[in-house]
């Protein structure tokens, strides 16, 4: 039986002179995301000379490095790209022997879904032909997967929203959406980490700082994490707010 960790096959292409991209699948899938998270950890535990870091995509993992360190290293290959490709393939082959369990971190995000914060809660409820309470119930019931962080610092692409909540983006985007706003756009849900313009349907707000450049890990969420929303009232929201 193929297990999660015995199939870390990928295709590889150069992204730039300083990065390669590994492709682990062709569709958004939890298994693919798990492979990406798994390979990311494997690489962080076994870095090559010049390794800088990884960026996860839906089906990809891009690996950034210092080309000068790679090309002057003892890794096998004629140029930087060959050296990296060879190293990553052998890492993937050897990983089959490594059966360590990978347990994603789960983060509970308090969200205040009251009218002041859930600006479009009524619109989402109307569109879904549900009561507002049912919308909140469906939104807080799921465990969401963080597929990737991108778009703006700390923005998490979450998978797993109940499709009954799917709502088209607002016809006219707001000029300003507060940091921490929780929104729905089509079949996606997400949290605005910074105050930016935006067209998502806003259903609530979290008092937690999704991104803070003063923290050593500025983004609260990382690719591979799991997220659950927890409904809090206004008092609890204010108490949690910095």
């Amino acid at each position: 039986m193929p297990t999660l960790f015995s199939e870390l096959d990928f295709k590889i292409y150069p992204l730039s002179e300083h990065a390669v991209t590994l492709t682990f699948g062709s569709e958004i899938a939890e298994l693919t995301a798990a492979k990406i998270a798994r390979f990311n950890l494997l690489l962080e535990a076994n870095p090559f000379p010049g390794f800088k870091g990884c960026v996860a995509g839906y089906t990809t993992l891009s690996i950034f490095y210092n080309l000068l360190e790679v090309s002057s290293s003892e890794l096998f290959g004629e140029n930087g790209f060959e050296k990296i490709s060879h190293y990553l393939k052998s890492l993937s082959d050897n990983s089959k022997l490594d059966g360590r369990n990978f347990t994603p971190k789960r983060i509970v995000l308090p969200v205040c879904y009251v009218a002041d914060y859930g600006l479009d809660l009524d619109e989402v409820a109307r569109n879904a032909k549900l009561a507002v309470d049912e919308v909140i119930d469906l939104h807080t019931r799921q465990i969401y997967k963080v597929y990737m962080i991108g778009f703006v610092p700390g923005f998490a692409y979450l998978g797993g929203m109940d499709e009954r909540l799917a709502t088209a983006r607002k016809l006219v985007p707001r000029a300003k959406v507060a940091a921490g706003s929780v929104g729905i756009a089509g079949k996606q849900t997400g949290i605005y980490p910074l105050e930016t313009p935006g067209g998502w349907q806003i259903i609530g707000q979290t008092p937690l700082e999704m991104f803070d450049s003063g923290r050593s890990q500025p983004s609260l969420l990382k690719a591979g994490d799991e997220v659950q929303f927890k409904s809090v009232n206004l008092e609890e929201f204010k108490a949690l707010e910095k």
Binding site: P14, L15, S16, I28, Y58, T59, L68, G150, S213, P218
Partner: protein, 331 residues
């Protein structure tokens, strides 16, 4: 050493070698758009080459020497003038306290870098001094410089910087005959940008690919530190696949839904969902940083192997230059 900003210009920020360790959290690299110019200005002062500089976009800016200064400038967006004399670039320059330095228009390019002995001192945010405007952090309070801002150079000068300063210090503006010829590191044709095929290159029609690699394109007016908007022939896809969001980086050329290209630059987002037709060779990103709205330019194809080789060659030359400056003063 301290300067004060008398006139900030349209987009003036503090930038260093970039913020490279937080891509996984979608924090852009930022840093100097024309990295080569910024590095050369720093090397000319004996600074660490990635030290913080001030990036001026175009001219119409001015600053004052609040103390005696030793500075170096590089880039094609402006010419620095003090007391009616043009300050030469790519070399250290001594400027006495009280001097007013103006940036006047240079039609050659877009950005100019001002380096100061010791590097400009602003707080580190996520291991870098670069300004990231969208995130409102880094540089000076996360923003563009404005009138009255005072910026100082770091006080811990390298022994090389100290020797360089001692060699030109005097009662009036002075500079040495030696300089770092940036042009020797650049191709003679600055409007032909070398690219290699990116992930979705084959998604485009043969006509579009031929046009991409042969036609003239123009720089759009909505270009900024995040990306250069490219206008000209529109490109069309052969297959209607959608790309699932994946990592992108400075130099990535995305094609939007209406067939227009965007060349991602220093402040670009870390992931994108538009198909990518090409990737600009890293050595040519400095040329792209000097493009201004309405400039005409074209792309030419090289192999990925060649792009890698060009980068390594350029880095080796820069290492030799650094060594030559060091040997001149410390041997």
């Amino acid at each position: 050493m301290t300067i004060s900003i008398l006139k900030p210009g349209i987009l003036t920020t503090v930038q260093d070698g970039g913020r490279k360790n937080y891509l996984a959290q979608a924090v852009p690299i930022s840093g100097a758009m024309d990295n080569l110019s910024a590095r050369i200005a720093n090397i000319a002062l004996g600074n660490d080459e990635d030290s913080a500089t001030i990036e001026f976009t175009y001219a119409a800016a001015a600053f004052k020497a609040e103390t005696d200064l030793v500075i170096a400038c590089a880039g094609d967006g402006a010419m620095l003038v003090a007391d009616g004399v043009q300050i030469p670039s790519e070399r250290p320059v001594f400027i006495p306290a009280g001097t007013i330095i103006k940036l006047i228009n240079n039609p050659e390019g877009a950005t100019t870098y001002l380096a100061i002995a010791g590097g400009f001192e602003v707080p580190d945010v996520l291991e870098s001094k670069s300004t990231y405007l969208l995130g409102c952090f880094g540089g000076l309070e996360g923003r563009c410089l404005k009138i009255g801002d005072r910026l100082s150079g770091g006080e811990n000068l390298s022994s090389l910087s100290q020797k360089i300063i001692a060699s030109i210090k005097g009662p009036k503006i002075s500079w040495p005959a030696w300089f770092i010829p940036r042009s020797s590191l650049l191709p003679s044709d600055k409007k032909t940008i070398r690219v290699f095929p990116a992930g979705e290159f084959t998604w485009f029609t043969p006509d579009s690919i031929i046009n991409f690699l042969s036609k003239d394109f123009f720089v759009g007016i909505n270009s900024n530190r995040m990306g250069i908007q490219i206008s000209g022939d529109k490109l069309s896809k052969r297959k209607q696949d959608e790309l699932l969001s994946t990592a992108v980086c400075p130099g990535t050329i995305q094609v939007t839904g209406n067939g227009e290209m965007i060349l991602l630059m220093a402040d670009c987002q870390t992931t994108g969902g538009y198909p990518r037709i090409g990737q600009v060779a890293a050595v040519d990103l400095s040329l792209c940083a000097q493009l201004k709205p309405n400039d005409t330019f074209c792309f030419t194809e090289i192999s990925f192997d060649e792009a890698e080789m060009l980068y390594i060659q350029q880095e080796k030359i820069l290492q030799k230059i650094k060594l030559a400056v060091k040997n001149k003063f410390l041997s």
